[in-house]
């Protein structure tokens, strides 16, 4: 039987370790940023340069960068099924 204190201590240590890991990896991983900002975020028009109403130049052709890596297409779609 473990006491509350022991459990709390363990949890705290875990959180501290985890925080350390997160900060560390976030500092170095350009991949994580690219994986988000090039492909995600609010998109206000279709791909490439498009004029929508008064919005002029919106560049969304950046997928070009990622898809230029041929294998991306090969690996498209993860093997896991997300239950909806």
């Amino acid at each position: 039987m473990q006491t509350e204190e022991v459990r709390d201590g363990r949890v705290k240590k875990r959180l501290k370790d985890m925080e350390h890991n997160i900060i560390k990896s976030k500092d170095v991983t350009l991949l994580e940023i690219l994986d988000r900002v090039l492909d995600k975020g609010v998109v206000i028009s279709g791909d490439l340069v498009i004029s929508v109403a008064d919005v002029d130049l919106i560049y969304l052709g950046l997928k070009v960068f990622l898809s230029s890596v041929e294998t991306m297409e090969r690996l498209k779609g993860a093997p896991f099924i997300e239950p909806t």
């Binding site: 949890v11 875990r14 959180l15 370790d17 985890m18 890991n21 997160i22 990896s25 976030k26 991983t29 350009l30 991949l31 994580e32 940023i33 690219l34 994986d35 988000r36 900002v37 090039l38 492909d39 995600k40 975020g41 609010v42 998109v43 206000i44 028009s45 279709g46 340069v49 498009i50 929508v52 109403a53 008064d54 919005v55 002029d56 130049l57 919106i58 560049y59 969304l60 052709g61 950046l62 070009v64 960068f65 990622l66 890596v69 294998t71 991306m72 090969r74 690996l75 498209k76 779609g77 993860a78 093997p79 896991f80 099924i81 997300e82």
Partner: protein, 266 residues
């Protein structure tokens, strides 16, 4: 002929509160009761002609995506944000304001929705050689094949070894699928929404191991500690198996924000 006339307006995100210490690089434009965080950028960087060329320049891209992320993260520290995609550019402020007005209600709804929530990302990698080694001492089918090999004639051994290799690959894939699904299901319980993203190949990750799961979760802030503990538990379960967890956050909710009217211009 001053540079001013040649600047474009870059939209980073919309947020609840105005930015302190505005500069050309980062300032706020108010729209009703929320704000857009924008910056003035050069045509030589983000003009239509230059951009295509610049995107092929990895150093340029690295610098600019880092600025994009840093600006949004600095805003996120103080308030709720709705991040826009990299390179969302307007010719002038009037056009940006018109866009904000037109989408005012939906942007505000988004801001309200994301208040008190954080995006966290999980990427799981697998070192196949390591996993095969693990299965070699743990998997019963493989262990029994190993035993048979020991007592077989040299001729038979050749085929048995080949069979063992096939079983290893099959069992490794099975394990990867089970483990990925199990991890995702476990972490999903803590989240409000979740998304499974494309796996990134080694050329992009620049790692020797293989990505087997790339997913993101939208969490209520108060659930983050439990989520992190769950991640740690998953990590502990996999000591020696060759699975490597990469957990990052908090991120702006890139994977979860959307405008209904957006997408393709139909």
């Amino acid at each position: 002929m001053k540079v001013q006339g040649k600047k474009l307006i870059y939209l980073y995100c919309v947020t609840d509160s105005p930015q302190s210490r505005p500069s050309d690089e980062k300032y706020t434009i108010s729209c009703g009761d929320f704000y857009a965080v924008a910056g003035k950028v050069r045509k030589i960087d983000f003009g239509e002609e230059s951009l295509k060329k610049n995107l092929a320049d990895f150093e340029w891209l690295k610098e600019k995506v880092n600025i994009h992320e840093q600006v949004i993260e600095s805003v996120m520290k103080e308030s709720s944000v709705v991040p826009f995609k990299f390179g969302t550019i307007f010719n002038n402020e009037e056009n940006l304001i018109a866009f904000l007005k037109e989408n005012e209600e939906e942007l505000r709804n988004n801001l309200n929705y994301f208040r008190g929530k954080e995006e966290w990302g999980i990427k799981i990698y697998c070192d196949m050689e390591y996993l095969k080694k693990y299965l070699g001492v743990k998997n019963e089918e493989i262990l029994s094949l190993k035993n048979t090999i020991k007592t077989s004639s040299p001729g038979k051994t050749f085929f048995l070894k080949k069979q063992k290799e096939e079983v290893l690959i099959r069992e490794a894939n099975k394990k990867i699928n089970e483990y990925g699904q199990h991890s995702f299901d476990k972490l999903k319980k803590y989240s409000i929404r979740s998304v499974i993203n494309k796996l990134l190949p080694g050329e992009v990750t620049e790692r020797n191991d293989e990505m087997i799961l790339n997913c993101v979760f939208l969490l209520d802030k108060y659930k983050v500690p439990s989520f992190i503990i769950a991640v740690e538990e998953l990590k502990e379960q996999t000591v020696d198996t060759g699975f490597i967890f990469d957990c990052t956050g908090p991120w702006p909710p890139y994977n979860f924000c959307k405008l209904k009217k957006s997408g393709t211009a139909e």
